[in-house]
Structures are given as C-alpha cells and as structure tokens.
C-alpha cells in the first residue's frame, strides 16, 4: 500500500514538474472537487459536515507544514496565509462560528459546490510556486 502511494506520488511529482504550475493548481482544485463528490454521495448531514471539515483541516495542516519549510519563498508563505484565511472562513461558516450563520443541513451539497467554485477562483488569484504546490499536495495526500 505504502509502496503504491510512493509510486503514485513519484509519478505525480514527475508529471507535475513537467506540466508546471497550472497542473499543480488543478490538483488542489481536484482535492476539493473530490470532497464535494463524497459529500453528495452520502445522505447523512453529520457525515457531510465531517467530510467537509476534514478536507479543510487536512489542507490547513498541509499549508502549515509547507509554510514552515525552508524550501518555500516569502511570497509563497504570504499566498498560503491568504489561502488559510479563505479556508478558515469556510470552516467557520460550516460550523456557524465567528459571526457566520451555520450552513443548514439541506444546503450542504450546495455549500460543497460553493467551496469548489470559490477555491477555483481563489487558486486563480493566489499565485504559488510549483515547489509550494507540490509540497502542499504531497502533504495533503500523506496526512
């Protein structure tokens, strides 16, 4: 299993380093798209919330880890900080914290789509280097 993951990651890194930054952004978008898919597959609102919350937490952890790495630039760190703020807002809204109304159970599928669409727009505006993108995806997959 571990060997399979390692091979997948090696291939992914190789392909992405050839394809460049846009491919890295695609992988981040896919991450949220996959979470939205899982949200829609279940009918249980508690599970839906759990899936969404886990996806935010995993990505935030990955961003925190990569931010501490000496391999990423100051600009990347600032970009990741912005990304984290966006994620925290989503997480707060899901739970109804920090002035947000809690997302109603009946709207969780729509909220999952909102996250995908907002992240697609966020990755357009937050420019990260290929190294940073690679590390984020790598760590988000491993966590």
């Amino acid at each position: 299993m571990l060997g399979k993951t390692a091979i997948r990651l090696t291939v992914m890194i190789f392909v992405m380093s050839l394809a460049g930054i846009a491919q890295g952004q695609d992988k981040i978008q896919n991450y949220f798209k996959d979470a939205a898919g899982k949200v829609k597959e279940t009918t249980d609102p508690t599970q839906k919330r759990e899936i969404l919350n886990n996806s935010f937490e995993k990505m935030t952890k990955a961003l925190n880890t990569v931010q501490g790495s000496p391999l990423v630039s100051k600009d990347d760190k600032a970009g990741m900080e912005h990304f984290k703020v966006v994620l925290k807002e989503k997480q707060d809204e899901l739970a109804g914290l920090n002035g947000f109304e809690r997302v109603p159970d009946a709207q969780l599928n729509d909220f999952a789509d909102y996250v995908v669409q907002d992240m697609e727009q966020a990755t357009e505006t937050v420019t990260l280097s290929l190294v940073a993108l690679l590390l984020i995806i790598l760590i988000a997959v491993l966590i």
């Binding site: 460049g20 600032a78 900080e81 709207q107 909102y114 697609e120």
Partner: protein, 379 residues
Amino acid sequence: MERESSASGRQSRVLPLGHTCLLNAFGVFCCLALGVVLSSCSSPPPAPSETAPEEVNALPSRYVLVFVIHGDGGYLYHNTDGKKYRADEETLISAKLVAERNSQAEVFIYHEKRKRHFLFLFPRHDGEFYYYRNGQLLAQESYWRDQGQSRFDPEIELYNRFRAEELSQSKRFFLYFGHEIPEIDGKGYDASYKDRPFIIHGLVDGLKHFTPDSTKFDLIVLSTCFNGTPHTISALSPYARYIIASPGNLHLSYFDLQPFEALDIGLRDENVSAFAKECARQSFERLTKDIQTEITVAVYDVDRVQSFLNSVDSVYDHTLTTLKDKPSKSIEHCDCADDSAYLQPMMSDGIDVFFRPARFGRSKHKQDHSGWECLRLLK
C-alpha cells in the same frame, strides 16, 4: 488542398483538406513526428506570410467578430457533477459554433495556448488562429505568441492579412475570454511568459489595431473577473459603443455565446443595446442555475457612463498609484458604492446590472451591486 509553410515557422492550412495518406500506421506516426519537429524547431515567423486565402469569398460581411481566448494559465473548472472542463477549450468550441452558424459573418478566433515542447526539447506553437467567413472555415494557422513589441502583434498581423473589406454598416464585436486583466503589475498573467506583464493597456494597444479608421466596436465583451471597473471601462471607451463585463468574480464557464449564434435574429432591428442586454441576461440566468459564488454581469453604454467616469477618474488613478507598490495580497476588490469617494448621483447612469450575491460567505446578504468595482487596501 493542404499547404504547409514550415520555413516561416507557421503551420498554415488553407482549407478544404482533401489529403489522404496511404502509409501504414508506423509510417504515419513517423511523418507526423518529423513534421511536428521540423515545424516546431523553426524560428519565430517573419511577417508577412504567403498564406493569403485565395478561395475566400470577397463579399463583405454584415458582422465582424474577433475572439481572443486566453488559455495560458489555470483554466480548469468542474461542473456540479464533478466533471472537468478547460474554460479555454470550451470557449473555443462555442466560438467555432458562432462562426459556423452565422452565414454573413467574418470571424477571427485566436486561441492563446500554453507553451509546450515536443519530446521535452522542441518548442511547439502556442497560438492557434481560425478564420471563418460566411459560416465556413477558410484558414487555420498555428502561430507563435510573444513576438514583437506589443502583446497582440502576431494576432494583428493575422488580422490584417486575412480581413476582407467591411460594409460601412457592419456590426463589429470583440470578445475576450480569460482571467482578470490587471490594471497594475500584470506579471504572471501568462503561465508561459511569466516576466511579460499584461495589463489593460496592453489590450487597448491591441484594440487600436483591430479598429481601423477609428471605427469603434459595437460591443466589447470582457469575459473575465473584476474588469467592470471605472479604469478599465474608461480605457476601452475610445474603442467601444457598449461593453459587457463583470465587476465581480466570473465563473470560468464565462458569459453565454448562444445569442451570438444567430446574429441576424438578435440584431434584426440593429439595436446593439438591446442585444447586449439580452446577452447579459441570458448569461446571468444560466450562471445562477449552478453557480454558488457571486454573479454580476453589467452592460455599459459607453457614451452614457462618461460623466461618471470623468468624475471619478482622478480618484481611481490616485488609488492605482497608491496601490502600485503594495503586495497584491494586501489589495482587495470592492463595490465602488461601498467607498464614499465614488458615490456620485450619476453612478448608475448608462449601466444595467444583473446581480445575485454568493449563496454563502460574508456577502450573502448583499442586496445589489453598483456595477462598478474598485480596489482598496485590505483592512
């Protein structure tokens, strides 16, 4: 007939293509590989080229459409079923449909693609040009972008080479699809040419050459995020009668091209203003079905918005100068109506806005949008 001009660095085809090859599969592969290598390795093209389309029907067209589709960046999006789409490729399909369905139109389509290499070594063309007249594809050329002083030099060279005589009453349209065209900085707009900046004045430079004899475009469509700003609309004003743009985020599924598929019907009474509003309304309705983020589509009547633009011009310029040296992360977009410096009685003159707030997030209760987007420092 198929003609290739690899010596000029371009792969040119004057259609129709009737060429068949009787080589076996291996032979075909080798031919293709060699062809690509030869054409890709050649140096960037000197203009002009010899590929004028002899078969072109010289009758003037009632409509002229210029499409610029930027695809050199992150343009992936997903629909609500999780299906992947590439915004530029989807737009190219729609633009071709527009070109094929209008029997009295001259259509120029430029697809600006990511720079790629064959076998990791040999650069491949990063632009694809399609020329249609009267519903027929008359020419298709691969070209090199990033040539010359101005960003749109290669596109303008192709435009001048192919364009036919226009009727004085021809309706002219310019449609741009891509990410937000920045007003300051602009570096990194193209994934393949990171150091080459692209700002709104780069587009204006191009428009100058797409509008011979100072003829304005009847309608300019900016299918981009955040370009419904006083500065951008003001910069495009000398070249357009009407502009459709989004002052907010625009989902990558972009504005609808369907109304452009039947220009004879949409413009039967020659009313560009009504046509522009109908285009905006259709786009808005389609986007509101599946998109959860904010949707704002605005139509600007260029003559009628001038008094507002004149009154806020210096304020906006001052803001741009102030923000010029600030890191992009510290700048945010906002509705100009939320900034007292832009609150003018004539703010809504000459503008039609279709707005629905994001269904989630801090702004979900926002009631309306002025149709003008501004920039400010993050609080």
